[in-house]
């Protein structure tokens, strides 16, 4: 009740400010008139009566003024007045305004853009029901230094049966290529095979139609498919009557039973169709092993740690029951989100740290800019104080003057971030998880706003202190030139610059680490030649070519046709390109002593005779595959020089024997150069190749080397394939150059961003140093004059000024190196070929800053050296 009585007049005052003022004037006028009446009735002449009334009321007017200032409405109007004043001031000094706004925009833009990515990828919950209850489960074999492996279906089945902490575990097989025929060109669709409970475990339902039924994972019932929203719109016009109809996948009819909502992009956004997972009966008793993703849903209130402990117990039991496959195998249970972002997390965290460094630098830079202005205006402040302005008013105004800079800078920063994020998403690495959730979203903008406010408050501390400490006596005497408070202020600014440098050092060190890593990466011997090679992915439908010999014969037909194309030097096939990740098997080798050694994990690839020449992989000894190595020929293998040197040191591997994963012993016929099969930066395993007639896979990459431009081959090769089989889709067509570049996109992007941040930091530091040194020179103008008059040489004066800049760079750099050393953990997983405490990089940061500090101090130093004592001392 009372609150209402209190609020109403205030609201009225806010919204009807002018009216209230008019009311007050009316009320006072009435008072004067009434007083005049009373005075005349006491016998005073009218003029005298009026004068006396006015005199008493004069004090009323003053009092009303004070009363009005205490009202909140008045405070609001005051703020608006201050803001207007601030904007006018800015308009009067456009150079300062532009500098301050740019600094704010840079800081806020960088943080907003990077935080958008961090929020979208790392913080935003996964788009599933109660995503915090979802876990990913992996196996590991620490004794074989395999820290993370895809689990087998038998293991998942046993975990599922034995676990009480987990409500359910779903199995996903991510390798399912479909040739979609009909309704346009033949197209290869990336699909996944789901155990029937996947959608239930994730907690999502189809937008249209139904989920898989529990019996649809049985052979014969599995010809059903759920489509992605994208595929449904693109190929079937978004027509819901597609439900219940069949479509041709790999030459077999599949009934469409459902369509997922657009938000469902699992396992990644590349997946467009999902079919039931039918397990090979041999998997049940661990005879064969396939790679699966396992996703579990915790029971309500169960924790990941509890699930981990329970799975550990089960793993120990399985190791005893199935020593052949499960000995020394461990389990990893971790939140699904953590699994999803594992590869990009270090880069994102490093980028967030880098953008935060930049923000700190921008904040300090802004603070110094404002402080310099406040110092320049100290005379004005002192005068206003002397004329009766309160210190609170001056401080309030100092803050209000910063606000337009923040508002404008913040807006430009966020707008730039929107632009940057779009560019980032477009340039993001192909394996970047959750790319679709990266945007400048509301939570991101709220965080940016908070950051902006904090930045503004921190940056206004010094000017506000100036306003508070403004002192008429000292200011009016000497303009603060030689007072102690002036020196203290200059010290504060020097410290500000030193701290900026301290935060710029880790940025520059980080940038230098990444640039040096990139140089090292460019020097890596890939083992193959990336130039003049075009690659084409093919997935062969088994419905058309059911047996391995038919598939291999199809490959031979394709190769024959392509070899005849003009410009083709060499053509070959392999089932997985270099740098395309692992496809490992375990084999055994027979040493010279006859001893058998198991090699638990080796890159294993079927290849055609022409592959090595086409990819430019050097043949070290022996021969490549040829027509002899067909289904009926002697089982053969080609090993890389790494395996050869490790197993048969000093001897030729040709003629030695290796046992294939299926138990067949093969004769080594050749040794080739080791290649980077996994990625440019990680190279864990040796390699072995099989003849494509003896080990046939229905997924293959055609590799064509040309004498000219690889891109010119793409169309003719595509047509040649179409001429042989018009229903055979070709996908992921890239030159080998592009393949190498794509594998390095994440590193390149991280490097470019951190280098950009480093350069900006360097420029800001330079501006900061220049500002402080130049200001110092104007302050000490007279002192320099005296020095020169007393016999100091020009170079001594120059040195004096240079020393100031260098001192700031030195103290800042020392502190910065400490920060850089503390942050090196962040960089350790991002560097390549050098340690995270790389001396050259640690030196590069401070050196760059020294150079910049010297440069930035040069101009003021030169000006100082030109001091003319005759002129200065007379001033």
């Amino acid at each position: 009740m009372r609150l209402l009585y209190r609020i109403i007049p205030q609201l009225r005052a806010i919204f009807r400010g002018r009216r209230v003022d008019a009311d007050v004037a009316d009320e006072i006028q009435f008072h004067i008139d009434r007083e005049t009446d009373a005075n005349t009735s006491r016998g005073m002449p009218f003029d005298e009566a009026r004068r006396v009334a006015r005199l008493t009321v004069g004090s009323v007017d003053d009092a009303m003024e004070t009363a009005r200032d205490q009202r909140p409405a008045a405070a609001l109007r005051q703020i608006i007045r201050d803001l207007r004043f601030g904007i006018r001031l800015l308009a009067k000094s456009p150079a300062f305004a532009a500098a301050a706004v740019t600094v704010v925009a840079l800081g806020i833009g960088a943080v907003t853009a990077i935080f958008s990515a961090v929020y979208g990828v790392m913080l935003q919950p996964l788009p599933f029901r109660e995503p915090e209850r979802l876990i990913s489960i992996w196996t590991k074999a620490p004794t074989l230094t395999l820290t993370r492996m895809y689990p087998s279906s038998a293991d998942v089945r046993d975990w599922r049966q034995g676990s009480h902490q987990l409500q359910d575990i779903a199995l996903i097989r991510t390798t399912a290529n479909f040739n979609l025929v009909g309704n346009g060109d033949a197209e290869r669709i990336q699909g996944a095979r789901f155990s029937p409970n996947v959608l239930a475990v994730l907690g999502v339902t189809p937008a249209l139609g139904r989920d898989f039924r529990s019996d649809e994972d049985m052979d014969g019932h599995d010809r059903v498919v759920i489509l992605s929203d994208g595929l449904w719109h693109r190929r079937f016009g978004g027509d819901s009557s597609i439900l219940g109809h069949s479509i041709q996948l790999n030459g077999a009819p599949y009934t469409v039973i459902g369509v997922m909502p657009p938000s469902f992009q699992y396992p990644t956004r590349d997946f467009q169709a999902w079919v039931p997972l039918v397990l090979d009966p041999r998997e049940r008793d661990r005879q064969v092993n396939q790679n699966y993703l396992a996703v579990g849903r915790l029971r309500a209130n169960a924790t990941v740690a509890q699930a981990q402990r329970e799975l550990d117990v089960i793993a120990t039991r399985l190791a005893m029951e199935h020593p052949a496959t499960n000995r020394d195998r461990g389990v990893i249970a971790e939140p699904m989100l953590a699994s999803a972002i594992r590869d990009v997390q270090p880069a994102l965290v490093a980028l967030l740290a880098a953008s935060s460094c930049l923000l700190v630098i921008a904040c300090l830079n802004l603070s110094n800019l404002l402080a310099a202005r406040a110092a320049a205006r100290s005379g004005e402040l002192a005068l206003r104080l002397a004329l009766g302005a309160s210190r609170q008013r001056l401080v309030a105004q100092a803050i209000a003057e910063v606000t337009p800079v923040l508002a404008l800078g913040g807006m430009i920063g966020v707008a730039a971030a929107v632009f940057l994020v779009r560019a980032f998403v477009a340039a993001a690495p192909p394996n970047m998880p959750r790319l679709e959730s990266i945007s400048v979203s509301t939570p991101v903008i709220l965080v940016s706003l908070a950051v902006l406010v904090v930045t503004g408050l921190l940056a206004s501390v010094i000017p506000a202190m100036h306003a508070w400490r403004a002192d008429f006596t000292t200011m009016s005497k000497d303009g603060g030139r030689s007072s102690t408070s002036g020196r203290r202020r200059a010290d504060a600014r020097r410290i500000g610059v030193a701290v900026q440098i301290a935060f710029a050092v880790p940025l520059l060190v980080g940038a230098s680490l990444l640039v040096r890593s990139a140089i090292k990466l460019a020097d890596v011997d890939l083992g193959f030649r990336r130039d003049r090679v075009a690659t084409f992915h093919l997935a062969i439908p088994r419905s058309k070519y059911p047996s391995d010999p038919e598939v291999a014969a199809f490959y031979d037909r394709l190769l024959q046709a392509i070899a005849g194309l003009p410009g083709v030097e060499k053509a070959g096939m392999v089932n997985r390109l270099p740098l395309a990740g692992n496809q490992t098997m375990s084999i055994s080798v027979e040493k010279a002593s006859g001893e058998r050694v198991d090699i638990s994990s080796i890159d294993s690839r079927p290849a055609t005779p022409g592959y090595f020449a086409a990819m430019g992989i050097a043949l070290r000894s022996g021969r490549s595959f040829d027509a002899r190595d067909d289904e009926t020929g002697v089982p053969v293998a080609i090993v890389d020089d790494r395996l050869s040197t490790a197993t048969w040191p000093g001897a030729d591997a040709v003629g030695k024997r290796v046992q294939r994963f299926d138990g067949v012993w093969c004769t080594v016929i050749g040794v080739v150069a080791h290649i980077r099969a996994n990625s440019v930066d990680v190279d864990p395993r040796p390699q072995v190749y099989w003849s494509h007639h003896q080990v046939t896979q229905d997924r293959v990459v055609l590799v064509v080397r040309t004498s000219g431009d690889a891109r010119a081959l793409i169309d003719p090769v595509g047509q040649a394939i179409k001429a042989i089989d018009p229903e055979q889709p070709v996908y992921d067509v890239r030159t080998m150059d592009t393949v190498v570049q794509r594998s390095l996109v994440q590193r390149r992007l991280t490097m470019m961003l951190i280098v950009a941040f480093g350069v900006i930091a360097l420029i800001l530091a330079a501006v900061g140093i220049y500002g402080v040194v130049a200001y110092g020179v104007t302050q000490r103008w007279r002192e320099f004059g005296i020095r020169v008059a007393l016999g100091a040489t020009r170079s001594e004066v120059t040195r004096l000024v240079l020393r100031e800049g260098i001192t700031m760079a030195l103290t800042g750099s020392v502190a910065g190196l400490v920060v850089a050393a503390a942050l090196q953990e962040l960089m350790s997983s991002l560097v390549f070929g050098i340690g995270a405490l790389d001396v050259a990089s640690l030196a590069a940061g401070p050196l760059a800053l020294f150079a910049v500090a010297a440069l930035a101090s040069c101009i003021p130093a030169w000006r100082a050296s030109a001091v003319d004592p005759a002129v200065t001392l007379r001033e």
Binding site: R2, L4, Y5, R6, P9, E27, F30, T56, S59
Partner: protein, 109 residues
């Protein structure tokens, strides 16, 4: 006539509220009424009357409306609000207790 007594801070608020408890009054009339009732002992400083009125209004004890004065002029009339009436009773009880206590001390000490 003795020198008019300065009003103790806070007493003015009480006096204003008491004065307008019976009927709504405008500022000038409030000052006149206080002077009259105190037999010219209490002289309301014009410079503190209006701020006091503003303060009371802001606190929600009193409210004001435009009306017509005794000489047919537009004037701002102040009156007590419901919480103001209650507040006046409390303040009045406080004042009675305080003044009784003071006079007790003055008489007996």
């Amino acid at each position: 006539m003795t020198k008019p007594t300065d009003l103790v801070q806070g007493t003015l608020d009480l006096l204003i509220m008491r004065t307008i408890a019976r009927e709504p009054l405008h500022g000038w009339a409030i000052a006149q009424r206080i002077q009259l009732l105190s037999k010219e002992v209490l002289q309301v400083n014009q410079g503190s009357l209006y701020p006091a009125l503003q303060r009371l209004e802001r606190q929600g004890w009193i409210t004001a409306d435009w009306g017509t004065s005794e000489n047919n002029r537009r004037a701002r009339f102040y009156r007590l609000t419901a919480p103001g009436t209650q507040r006046l009773q409390e303040e009045r009880a406080d004042w009675d207790r305080l003044s009784a206590a003071i006079s007790l001390v003055m008489r007996t000490a």
